[in-house]
Symmetry: C2
Subunit: 330 residues, 2 copies
């Protein structure tokens, strides 16, 4: 069975690819475990080389239908659609966000329909589909009212996935990912980029700028939880989701101040002092518009995992992802 | 100021056009009353001739961007976007529904953005945006979970209207219309077509087929209420809606059996006996998936009107819309 990861050059995409290769199998459109004979990674920048004969790497613009058409075929049983324009960039460039987050998603679903073998499609949505006047704790009955273009585009993607599934064109599942932290690498244009930056940069001996106040509360999950959720979403029997094709991936609720405190506990005060608090209204407005906490019940019942606490997230990042781990007291 | 009615050949579109001409003014993008200097009616079939020098009639496919481009300009201050593929047809022809209900809507919004004068856009959505496991009484906090392609497409339209508004490209308002009854004319491909047919056909001396059971409860409004809502939506100051750019147009909750009873009370048992109860599972499934009742509070506070009861709706239809009124005891 062939599998596809869009956004395969990204942090989550390349990590997912490694996890899939290690695992070796995935559920096909019929829910049967199938060996992954081919794993296609597609991204706008060249996906990193992974030394594995099953991997095929494509560099191209997924908003060009010909690019996606070249990889989606009847043998494609599982698709992980991670490629997206992130929140800050989708807000700055409306047309680009619509083209990638809406049009390319629709093209991908349409190609699955044409292929006719009803592949499993895991679509990465986001808690940014929520917005407006939010309760302190959201649940599965909280209506979508996104207040960013990114959130609107992800909500549209969810609705498309739901209807293509209902029509029997494919078997789709949308994962609303919390803010993923700690991401290795460099800052990106996501408004949530600071949630990794204020941990990662101080650990790297650099200044980590926090554009939101200490009290700003966000909903986060670790990369490990996100990758496990992506695979779990493919594993779920189709009828486990019923007519709600989306899942709020379990997260934990932390304030920026609590994140800084966790960093201090785990890596020491000298590291935590490298966080510089410098409010950016544009970013703060987007971040504060997102959910602070969501009831994890349904997802946990479905078997999704949740992080223990933010200290554990920081510790795991230092152990597994830091290029040059920095110990306590540096 | 120029105004546009898409779907201007339809029942609601042509009735709205007459109401607008009679009224003579509309709010422009700044919320000021402006004389309607030109009213463009566009539809795929030729809009009926209305003897008024302000009216311009265009026949064309609104999914062809060139057609819409020819009518949306900087002088266009108000747009009523009624053109749509109805529920039954959107379910039968997925591509057609997406092309008209999603793509043409987006093209229209995009042309408003290009024009740059931030016109008021009233988008006709539908209670079909609701679905799934619905409570007996919905309210403004009920999440959207459409279970028809029509509902998905209208939900996507609402999200687009909301984001184009938030971005300042236009000033949009989405009206979730209840099932409109009693419509004059002939049955159409809407799954809700029976809601007019079981009243209209018996009054015309014909058999009116009811494809749902007597207990099937639906949410309805009269044509007069719908037209008033469309104009009211244009009238509302932009900030009256805040970040919720949609309005659940007030309706009343009736079962098919109660509709038949009302017909009997108003027009007599001989007329009501012309309803033939013949269940159609495909239609019943769609209809039962829609809301049975919605809390009207917010809309009433905003100044929208509501029908008195179904007897009054039948009486008004007989008085104002029947080609040849049929009295009690016919």
């Amino acid at each position: 069975m062939k599998a596809i990861v869009t956004g395969g050059a990204g942090f989550l995409g390349s990590r997912l690819a490694r996890a899939l290769l290690e695992r070796g199998t995935l559920k096909d459109g019929e829910g049967r475990d199938q060996p992954i004979s081919k794993l296609t990674l597609i991204d706008v920048t060249e996906p990193a080389g992974i030394a594995d004969g099953r991997v095929s790497r494509i560099t191209g613009d997924i908003s060009d239908p010909a690019v996606l058409k070249s990889i989606v075929d009847r043998e494609t049983g599982a698709i992980f659609h991670l490629a997206a324009i992130v929140s800050g960039m989708a807000e700055a460039d409306f047309d680009l966000g619509m083209r990638i987050n809406v049009d390319a998603t629709r093209t991908l679903l349409e190609l699955c329909r044409e292929a006719g073998n009803r592949p499993r499609v895991v679509f990465t949505s986001s808690v940014a589909v929520f917005g407006g006047d939010l309760p302190p704790l959201l649940n599965d009955a909280t209506p979508l009212n996104p207040q960013t273009s990114y959130g609107i585009e992800k909500a549209i993607g969810e609705f498309l996935v739901a209807d293509y599934t209902r029509k029997g064109f494919l078997d789709g599942r949308s994962l609303r990912l919390p803010t993923i932290t700690v991401r290795p690498g460099r800052p990106n244009a996501a408004a949530s980029s600071f949630a990794s930056g204020i941990i990662r940069e101080p650990l790297n001996g650099e200044e980590g700028i926090c554009p939101v106040g200490r009290d700003a509360r966000i909903w986060v999950a670790s990369p490990r939880t996100a990758i496990a959720a992506l695979i779990k979403a493919n594993e779920l029997p189709s009828n486990a989701l019923g007519n709600r094709r989306w899942i709020n991936v379990p997260g934990i609720s932390v304030t920026a101040g609590e994140m800084a405190d966790a960093l201090e506990r785990v890596a020491g005060p000298d590291v935590a002092r490298r966080i510089r608090w410098a409010r950016d209204e544009r970013i703060e407005k987007m971040v504060l518009g997102w959910p602070a906490a969501i009831d994890n019940e349904r997802a946990l019942q479905l078997g999704f995992e949740v992080d223990q606490n933010f200290d554990a997230i920081v510790r795991r990042y230092m152990k597994e992802d830091m290029v040059a781990p920095v110990g306590r007291g540096l």
